[in-house]
């Protein structure tokens, strides 16, 4: 366990080094957040239909997406791992006295956390100070804030478990391009990153509910704004944990099979 913690710590600290990149990312995210909300404001203005979420809930949803972008996006990838597999350096990784799944898991988790910590506070602050309807609103009560934190953290763990499959698939395909595209692009759509899930058609909503993706992003964000009451959030948390367990077990099984037939590339 100690080894995993120190891998985690090292990654975390090295992630904090890239401050200029974080600043640039910050500006980009603020701009994107504003533009997205502006589009929704325009849509809501002359809307005759009654959408499932109010505009202030929607703005909050968008800002939370931007603030915790590195928690929820699947695009976040570690090229080092891809190179390990394709260049044959995986052999070194196998010599280490620790499980490869947990090792990579800790690494990926740390990257996401450090990137979020650099970015989240400034965006949080600015988003709170923006004028209505662009601002991030407070959660309606403390009783929805605590479940939000919990669900967000489980969501993060779940997201890392999903992204592990992208890395595992490279053992077979040898090129990360195809699998990242398929898993990341569809996953991002189904977790409500392109348009919020409550604004999708009913049939599509049902479809997203049976897949694990929405539990990483859409669910905690709606717990925050109180659309999902705390009691329901508890039930959701159990489903999240179930998904997490299933994905980790399947992931470990896949990596075991991959390693049994691994070909060390290169000479």
């Amino acid at each position: 366990m100690n080894a995993y913690i120190s891998v985690w710590k090292l990654r975390f600290l090295s992630g904090l080094q890239y401050r200029a990149a974080a600043l640039a990312g910050l500006a980009t995210q603020l701009f994107f957040g504003l533009i997205f909300i502006m589009v929704y404001v325009a849509f809501y203005q002359h809307s005759t239909a009654e959408p499932q979420m109010t505009l202030s809930q929607l703005a909050t949803y968008i800002w939370l997406q931007q603030i915790f972008l590195s928690f929820v996006m699947l695009w976040f990838r570690d090229n080092e791992i891809f190179q390990l597999i394709t260049s044959g350096n995986i052999a070194y990784e196998l010599c280490r006295p620790c499980g490869i799944y947990s090792f990579w898991y800790a690494k990926l988790l740390a990257q996401r956390l450090s990137s979020a910590i650099l970015r989240c506070l400034p965006i949080l602050l600015i988003a709170f100070l923006l004028p209505i309807p662009y601002n991030l609103s407070l959660p309606p009560s403390a009783s929805s804030f605590i479940p939000f934190v919990l669900t967000l953290l489980i969501g993060l763990a779940l997201n890392v478990a999903i992204s592990m499959f992208i890395y595992i698939s490279v053992f077979w395909t040898m090129s990360p391009v195809g699998s990242t595209l398929v898993i990341a692009v569809t996953g991002e759509f189904l977790s409500g990153m392109i348009i919020p899930i409550p604004l999708m058609s009913a049939w599509l909503q049902h479809f997203t509910y049976v897949l694990p993706f929405r539990w990483t992003a859409d669910f905690p964000f709606r717990v925050y704004s109180g659309q999902i009451p705390p009691a329901e959030a508890l039930q959701g948390m159990i489903i999240q944990l179930l998904w997490l367990a299933v994905l980790i077990i399947v992931g470990r099984w896949c990596i075991k099979r991959a390693l049994r037939q691994v070909v060390v590339q290169g000479g």
Partner: protein, 260 residues
């Protein structure tokens, strides 16, 4: 020009060497913006219209921006990746050759796999034109082509300007994403739905609105007089790329080599 075509031909041959990987990449590239388009579709399915714009009109807007962005990415990719040339010191090699640096950087990289993206935008373009109740007269068609070409010029201009800044610093250049990716995201909806300051910025400073929104009004027959002005507004793209090229010239003069 001859040299440029030669560059293109060589890169095309080298990229199609790995045939399967090339096609997979092209298909994948086409899929990415497809989910964005699906997002657009579901928004209109939910709300019906946005400030008087229908789904097909917005789709036309989206397709034109998508097409010009994909074209710019294919042909000006060398500028997009330019900071790596400066960081490694490889730019020196380009300087000693007796040809213009712009030409050489343009020729240093092409991504033909972006063809997938182009194709996707093209299909949406034709589809939305087909569904919209308008007849495509010769001047309208001409305007449409002008929009795409000048849109490409604007995105290429942003790439060149960003690349020029890498002569001074190669840190934090990701800010340019606000103008490239952000501009693309923004311009996929008609400019009139945004707040005033966004519209002003993207009309007068980065004239994406001039190549997209204003001529679109003319094509859809929404103008009141001054049609010729709306038709010719894409030419702002040409005006935009001139200072970008100037900035490049200044940057090249400032260049100090790195590396060993």
């Amino acid at each position: 020009m001859y040299l440029y075509l030669k560059y293109v031909a060589i890169l095309f041959k080298s990229q199609t060497q790995y045939r399967l990987s090339f096609w997979l990449l092209a298909i994948g590239q086409a899929l990415t913006p497809l989910t964005v388009f699906a997002g657009l579709y579901f928004m209109f399915a939910q709300f019906g219209q946005v400030k008087g714009w229908s789904f097909y009109e917005a789709a036309l807007c989206y397709a034109i921006v998508g097409l010009s962005f994909a074209l710019a990415e294919t042909f000006a990719r060398g500028f997009d990746m330019f900071s790596t040339l400066v960081a490694s010191g490889d730019f020196d090699r380009l300087l000693v050759r007796p040809r213009s640096t712009v030409l050489q950087v343009l020729g240093s990289r092409f991504e033909f796999a972006r063809l997938g993206r182009m194709l996707q935008s093209l299909i949406i373009l034709l589809w939305s034109l087909n569904k919209l109740p308008l007849t495509l007269t010769a001047p309208k068609l001409l305007t449409l082509i002008l929009m795409i070409v000048c849109g490409t010029l604007i995105f290429a201009g942003i790439f060149i300007a960003t690349a020029s800044f890498s002569f001074w610093t190669i840190q934090g250049l990701e800010v340019a994403n606000v103008f490239t990716d952000g501009g693309r995201e923004m311009a996929k909806y008609p400019l009139s739905i945004y707040e005033k300051w966004v519209a002003v910025f993207f009309t007068y400073i980065i004239p994406l609105g001039c190549v997209n929104y204003l001529p679109l009004l003319y094509i859809l027959g929404r103008t009141d007089g001054h049609e010729i002005l709306y038709m010719l507004s894409p030419l702002a793209g040409i005006v935009f790329i001139i200072p970008c090229l100037l900035l490049w010239k200044i940057g090249v003069r400032h260049y100090c080599s790195t590396g060993s």
